[in-house]
């Protein structure tokens, strides 16, 4: 039973991790909590649905379609919403509120277009169950976890081993110095938004196919939990996001196992509260220096 619940928690935890990485990427580069992220996640799942249902695409083409459109939407959010603010030298709060506003617009447009009720989503990898250590485990969970982990590893290789990744890290460290060294900072920021949005789209698609339904409010809870996961692990740190996601996922399934479903939020957020009281910058986060 414990093993089964652990697997349940890990499966959902990898999804949180995948979304949390998006928060972390943008935060790392702009020091900004991107509140559009949860709506982009929803948009990603809806784009796959649109691809399959309205454009009659093959499911893999539909996912590709979603990756491109959602990634593009992420870039647009930056170009139309945030870049003008950066040029103006507006405050962080302005940028933050802009993202809240944009997220409101995206979600409610989806709501107007598709309604608020649940919609059936194609099932991508339902291969029944198997037994492990006396626990019944669905193949779905294994596949979801594996896909999410592969993506996370790929993302981490991209950021740590490639030239573009190097440029991204440079911009994270010191945007003005990076600009002097010939890095197109706005390009890199757009790329970051693209990566964040695309990973959110994949996470959204995975979750929609895992649950086999989608709806416009699906991002609310996941977005919040993933944000909590990013902070818990140390926002700005990629391994931290993964760790945070897994911790939140497992703590939730343990809450259901031991306490009951309505304690999910309480357990997840109390945990966060406690961790931050002990480690104010998250588990793997580092203290930013302040100059006097």
């Amino acid at each position: 039973m414990f093993v089964e619940q652990l697997i349940n928690g890990l499966a959902i935890g990898t999804i949180y991790a995948l979304v949390a990485v998006g928060y972390s990427l943008v935060f790392g580069i702009l020091r900004l909590v991107n509140f559009t992220h949860s709506s982009v996640y929803t948009l990603g799942a809806f784009m796959v649905y649109v691809g399959v249902e309205y454009l009659h695409l093959n499911i893999f083409l539909a996912i590709l379609f979603s990756l491109v459109t959602t990634g593009f939407a992420g870039v647009m959010i930056d170009k139309m919403g945030l870049e003008p603010l950066r040029k103006k030298g507006a405050s962080k709060i302005s940028a933050m509120i802009t993202t809240i506003g944009l997220s409101y617009i995206i979600i409610n447009c989806l709501n107007i277009a598709f309604g608020s009720q649940i919609i059936r989503f194609p099932d991508l990898f339902n291969y029944g169950t198997f037994k492990l250590l006396g626990a019944t485990i669905a193949w779905q969970q294994v596949i979801i976890g594996a896909v999410a982990l592969i993506l996370l590893v790929a993302l981490s290789i991209f950021i740590n081993r490639t030239r573009i990744g190097l440029a991204m890290r440079a911009v994270q460290q010191e945007p003005s110095a990076a600009a002097i060294n010939g890095i197109n900072v706005n390009m890199i920021i757009s790329l970051t938004f693209f990566l964040g949005a695309a990973s959110a789209a994949i996470a959204g698609t995975l979750i929609a196919s895992y649950n086999q339904y989608l709806r416009s409010s699906m991002g609310d809870i996941v977005g919040l939990k993933a944000f909590a996961a990013a902070v818990l692990g140390g926002i700005g740190s990629l391994p931290g996001s993964v760790l945070g996601g897994l911790i939140i996922g497992v703590s939730e399934s343990m809450a259901v196992y031991k306490l009951g479903g309505s304690y999910i939020d309480m357990v997840a957020f109390s945990l966060l509260f406690l961790v931050l009281l002990i480690r104010p910058y998250g588990i793997l986060g580092r203290k930013g220096s302040t100059k006097v």
Partner: protein, 388 residues
């Protein structure tokens, strides 16, 4: 700064005082209007309202209520209205918010020639007292809260009470012969009350027919149901009693089919709807629910309603929608019964004493203003709700 502030405050005061006056003046004009109501040549429309969430997370309920009430009002108007006067349906959006619902109730209480409300979904527990104070009949098609009709003698309920519904669900489980119950209940007033009710019912009956092997409280919405299903599986549940809305039942069922293919799923009245079938697809085949309404019935009234509803919304009406249709029927009949004598107390009395026969069966009210409802077990087969 101070001066501007003072001006603002003054403005606020003026505007709001006007508001308060408006509120005071409104009932007076209503009274004068109802006095002239008896005039047979009067063509002023008789106003009734439907209030439900047309937007927000529960919009499908409100949209259904709205469409059903329109069909009923159109039917009456086609037959010449009430006493030669046309009926005007005011339709309000609660926006899935209690405050909005209350605001609407206040707005409605200020209307002239206004005689009753069907609905309130999100705010049904907040508006009852107000309507009772204003003597406006309120007929709910969806409320299952224990305290709803206790708000005042103008609150009527055409939905089953929790205990009736629970009993209906238990009968479903018994009919299917799977009596080891795993209860899944939503952490809201309905879910919790229903679970408590179930426990009491089983105690009274001495547990001979059924046994609760596990109970799981869920947060609803988009939670991950795997952990809950693992618990149910470990406890050896044969039947899942679902005290939750269909938007939790469907995801739960889809998940449960992978791990527990033989689980019998019994859900509440609210699952009798089209979206449930459409989204659930093959996974909800075999799900059971007690219902007062059967769209497959041969009854001509039911056929008329179902055909009209399909024509307008392309969907089959849900059980709650059908109740809203009947609620409007009850209200209009009561208004008509008084034969132009548009007195609210008389209308209330007519509603209380009615023996309206609607698409959901007999709609007479008990002393507590709760309708008696007769359930039949229904089951999903070939993508349709049919009699079990």
């Amino acid at each position: 700064m101070k001066k501007k502030l003072c001006m603002l405050l003054a403005l606020l005061l003026v505007v709001t005082t006007l508001g308060a006056c408006g509120n005071g003046a409104a009932p007076a004009s209503t009274a004068s209007a109802s006095a002239s109501g008896g005039n047979p040549t009067d063509k002023t429309p008789i106003k009734v309202a439907v209030a439900g969430p047309l937007t927000g997370n529960y919009s499908e309920y409100g949209i259904g209520f709205d469409a059903a009430c329109k069909i009923m009002v159109d039917k009456w108007n086609k037959d010449g209205g009430i006493n030669g006067r046309p009926i005007e349906l005011l339709s309000y959006d609660e926006k899935s918010s209690t405050e909005e619902g209350l605001a609407i109730a206040q707005l409605l209480c200020g209307e002239d020639n206004f005689y009753g409300v069907v609905g309130h979904f999100s705010a049904s527990m907040a508006v009852g007292t107000l309507y009772t104070e204003e003597r406006v009949p309120l007929i709910s098609a969806s409320s299952s809260s224990a305290g709803f009709t206790g708000q005042g003698d103008c609150c009527f309920r055409l939905n089953a009470t929790i205990s009736t519904e629970t009993m209906g669900m238990l009968e479903c489980a018994k009919t299917a012969g799977k009596t080891k119950l795993g209860v899944v209940y939503l952490n809201n007033d309905w879910g919790r009350n229903a679970y408590d009710n179930l426990k009491t019912l089983l105690q009274e009956k001495g547990n001979e027919d059924w046994e609760i092997v596990d109970a799981e409280e869920i947060a609803g919405g988009d939670m991950d149901y795997n952990a809950v299903i693992s618990n149910l599986n470990a406890a050896g549940a044969e039947t899942a009693i679902m005290f939750c809305y269909y938007d939790s039942v469907v995801p739960f069922t889809i998940k449960a089919r992978t791990v527990m293919p033989d689980l019998n799923i019994v859900c509440g009245v609210n699952c009798y709807n089209d979206t449930f079938l459409k989204v659930g697809g093959k996974d909800v085949e075999g799900c059971m629910a007690p219902s007062v309404f059967a769209a497959v019935s041969d009854d001509p009234d039911v056929k008329y309603f179902v055909d009209e509803y399909k024509a307008r919304t392309t969907q089959v009406p849900s059980s709650l929608t059908a109740q809203a249709y009947d609620a409007m029927g009850v209200l209009l009949t009561a208004i008509a019964e008084n034969n132009g004598e548009l007195d609210k107390e008389a209308i209330l009395k007519s509603i209380q004493n009615n023996d309206y026969k609607g698409v959901t069966g007999s709609c007479s009210f008990s002393e507590n203003r709760d309708a008696t409802r007769n359930f039949s077990p229904m089951v999903v087969s070939n993508g349709q709700w049919i009699y079990y």
